[in-house]
């Protein structure tokens, strides 16, 4: 049996035969280029000159004093071009797609951050681009839809199933099976069939590569806790990766608990999910006793996904990382808190990690050090949060 692309028992390549040669070609191309000096330099230059890397590791002094515990640092992925960590992966994959001779890219998006990043990189590199987004999300994130269109992408509102992120993935996979020759699927998270979980993790691991060096430079030591929000898990995987071998560093992923675990209206895959096979991978999923994928819910379109990347499933199984649920209410409170206290408006996804920091930082020693990955900025969420608070603003 092939052990390719496995993280413990998780991962694999559970996809239709039609796609097999495409993922094999992708793997071969990636293996050829990942250590190729010219390719690495080309991507590195793009990240510096176009995406604005390295991103800041910001010491949140006011938040630290206010909470009265651990020293809090924020890895500012929100300051990247396009406003989130998603550009790291989009640039990398579209560069790979060019090497494969593809002229067209397609992608799923939840909140629209990955769609915007893909549309941006596609515009920049002269690729045709089509984005699939659940109908419910095109309503929740109308500004991002317009933004993608402005960047020259065609946006398809997906009306099948629950009309959210998982359905957008279904539809993008279907589109890929229809048109493989000239098209690369820029998968946005550390999920899907091998080699995507590895490729996306590698492109996102620059987050922890920088953060690890930055904290050593500033504090002269490793952090005690590193945390990030988790939907599919790309910013978390990027934030965790270079700390995995530093056993003293606690890794915490914050899942969307929606209206509360007990209400059933959530997307907390590792808190409540069971093992399964979906979207090309073996991992944990929110599903019923027969394996039907459950409709999930979160205020955050980017975390509103019933699965999680296979490497997270593995880190969960081995106990190397912890995964905790954070509710809508807690995330919205954290969204407002960071805006007031630090003058930083976080993406509602990232606010899930901020919320958990607010919970645990006060209980930590004053000399303890924590890093929160702020995966994206919150401009896209302002109208939705206003509505959540009963203020009728439409974007």
């Amino acid at each position: 049996m092939s052990k390719k692309g496995r993280f413990g028992i998780h991962g694999g390549q559970y996809i239709p035969e039609t796609l097999m040669n495409a993922v094999i070609e992708l793997e071969e191309t990636y293996n050829e280029y990942k250590n190729n000096e010219a390719f690495v330099k080309e991507l590195d230059d793009l990240l510096k000159t176009y995406a604005g890397r390295p991103s800041l590791l910001y010491y949140a002094d006011r938040m630290t004093r206010d909470l009265g515990g651990a020293k809090i640092y924020i890895k500012r992925e929100d300051l990247n071009h396009t406003g989130s960590h998603k550009i790291n992966n989009a640039l990398g994959q579209i560069l790979l797609a060019k090497k494969m001779g593809k002229t067209r890219v397609i992608a799923e998006t939840g909140a629209g951050q990955h769609g915007v990043a893909t549309a941006t990189a596609a515009a920049f590199m002269g690729m045709e681009c089509e984005i699939f987004m659940g109908r419910e999300d095109t309503d929740r994130q109308r500004l991002n839809v317009y933004r993608m269109e402005l960047l020259g992408a065609k946006v398809h509102a997906v009306t099948s199933g629950t009309q959210t992120l998982k359905d957008a993935v279904n539809e993008t996979m279907r589109e890929w099976t229809k048109r493989i020759d000239d098209t690369h699927y820029v998968l946005g998270s550390v999920m899907g069939p091998h080699p995507f979980p590895t490729i996306v993790r590698d492109f996102q691991s620059i987050i922890s590569k920088e953060a690890r060096q930055q904290i050593l430079d500033t504090e002269g030591r490793l952090p005690d806790v590193v945390m990030a929000c988790v939907g599919g898990g790309s910013n978390a995987m990027g934030m965790f990766y270079n700390f995995i071998n530093d056993k003293s560093v606690r890794l915490i992923g914050c899942e969307a608990a929606g209206r509360g675990i007990e209400t059933g209206k959530h997307a907390a895959t590792l808190t409540t999910g069971t093992e399964g096979i979906f979207h090309g991978m073996k991992s944990y999923f929110c599903q019923d006793e027969y394996g039907q994928i459950a409709p999930v819910y979160s205020i955050s379109a980017g975390l509103d996904y019933p699965g999680i990347g296979p490497e997270h499933a593995y880190l969960h199984d081995t106990g190397r990382a912890e995964y905790v649920p954070v509710t809508d209410d807690e995330a919205v409170d954290a969204f407002e808190y960071l805006s007031h206290v630090e003058g930083i408006i976080p993406a509602i996804e990232s606010a899930h990690a901020v919320a958990h920091a607010i919970k645990i930082a006060p209980k930590m020693k004053k000399d303890a050090v924590m890093i929160i990955c702020l995966s994206g900025r919150g401009d896209k969420d302002v109208a939705a949060i206003a509505r959540y608070r009963g203020i009728d603003i439409h974007d």
């Binding site: 239709p16 035969e17 279907r174 099976t177 399964g276 599903q287 006793e289 394996g291 039907q292």
Partner: protein, 260 residues
């Protein structure tokens, strides 16, 4: 010759697909009987999945209708057992990896044996992942059907060599659904399959008309039809057994012409 290959005893076969539980389980039972009476050589019963990524809108909608009616894997096993009192032709399940995995593969295939299900088709289990299931299936007398696609290229020989039951040749890129024209060089693919395997080949995805069925059966050994049947069921609901039967008869005649 295995029970699945019985379907090919008249040289050319007509394989019919149905989504179990659409519009309801009683009707599915009647449709299966009607399909068998009207000449279907093998029936593929789809166990609906919430997220059928290899399916086009027709079968996806049927799957969602069925699930909304409360269809479960257990209810389908019960229905098949009942149908088996009247239908002797080979039958296969078509479903997604997750439903088997979560149900428990040992238990799933043991129940297949009880219901006399002879083969399984899982579109999201490619060659690389089949070892996880194949020994469990075979242990209970269930053959695991392999799919070959127009994009399989150098993989065709490798897949064909280890194939069982029959080979499901996907006629064109994309998902299931009715197509007006099929452009892939199927004869070329069938030739490579024949060099590597003796088992029969059925062509599916996109076949709706007798003319297309004739061509498929002429090129290979069987025509496989799904979406066109599911469309008739969507249109006629509980009254579908008769029109589906008439359609199957027409398609079977076309396939038989290819045997002449």
């Amino acid at each position: 010759m295995t029970k699945v290959q019985d379907a090919f005893k008249n040289k050319k076969a007509f394989i019919a697909f149905i989504t179990a539980g659409d519009p309801d389980m009683e009707t599915t039972e009647k449709i299966i009987i009607s399909m068998a009476e009207n000449g279907a050589d093998l029936i593929e019963i789809g166990i609906p999945f919430s997220d059928p990524v290899a399916e086009g809108p027709v079968i996806e909608q049927a799957s969602l209708r069925s699930l909304a009616n409360g269809t479960t894997t257990d209810k389908i096993f019960a229905m098949v057992k009942k149908v088996r009192e009247k239908v002797q032709i080979p039958m296969a399940f078509m479903t997604y990896a997750n439903l088997l995995f979560v149900y428990g593969k040992e238990k799933f295939f043991a129940k297949c044996r009880e219901a006399d299900i002879n083969a399984i088709i899982i579109p999201d289990i490619p060659f690389e992942e089949k070892d996880e299931l194949i020994s469990y299936a075979n242990k209970e007398g269930v053959e695991m059907v392999s799919l070959i696609a127009p994009t399989s290229l150098q993989r065709i020989g490798m897949i064909a060599k280890e194939a069982q039951g029959f080979i499901y040749l996907v006629s064109s890129l994309g998902v299931t659904g009715v197509r007006s024209e099929i452009k892939t060089d199927l004869a070329g693919i069938v030739k490579v399959i024949r060099q590597n395997s003796k088992i029969p080949v059925g062509i599916g995805f996109g076949i709706a008309t007798p003319e297309q069925a004739y061509k498929a059966a002429k090129t290979a050994d069987a025509a496989i039809v799904g979406s066109a049947i599911v469309n008739i069921i969507a249109q006629h609901g509980r009254n579908a057994p008769e029109p589906v039967g008439a359609y199957v008869r027409k398609m079977k005649e076309a396939v038989m012409r290819a045997a002449e």
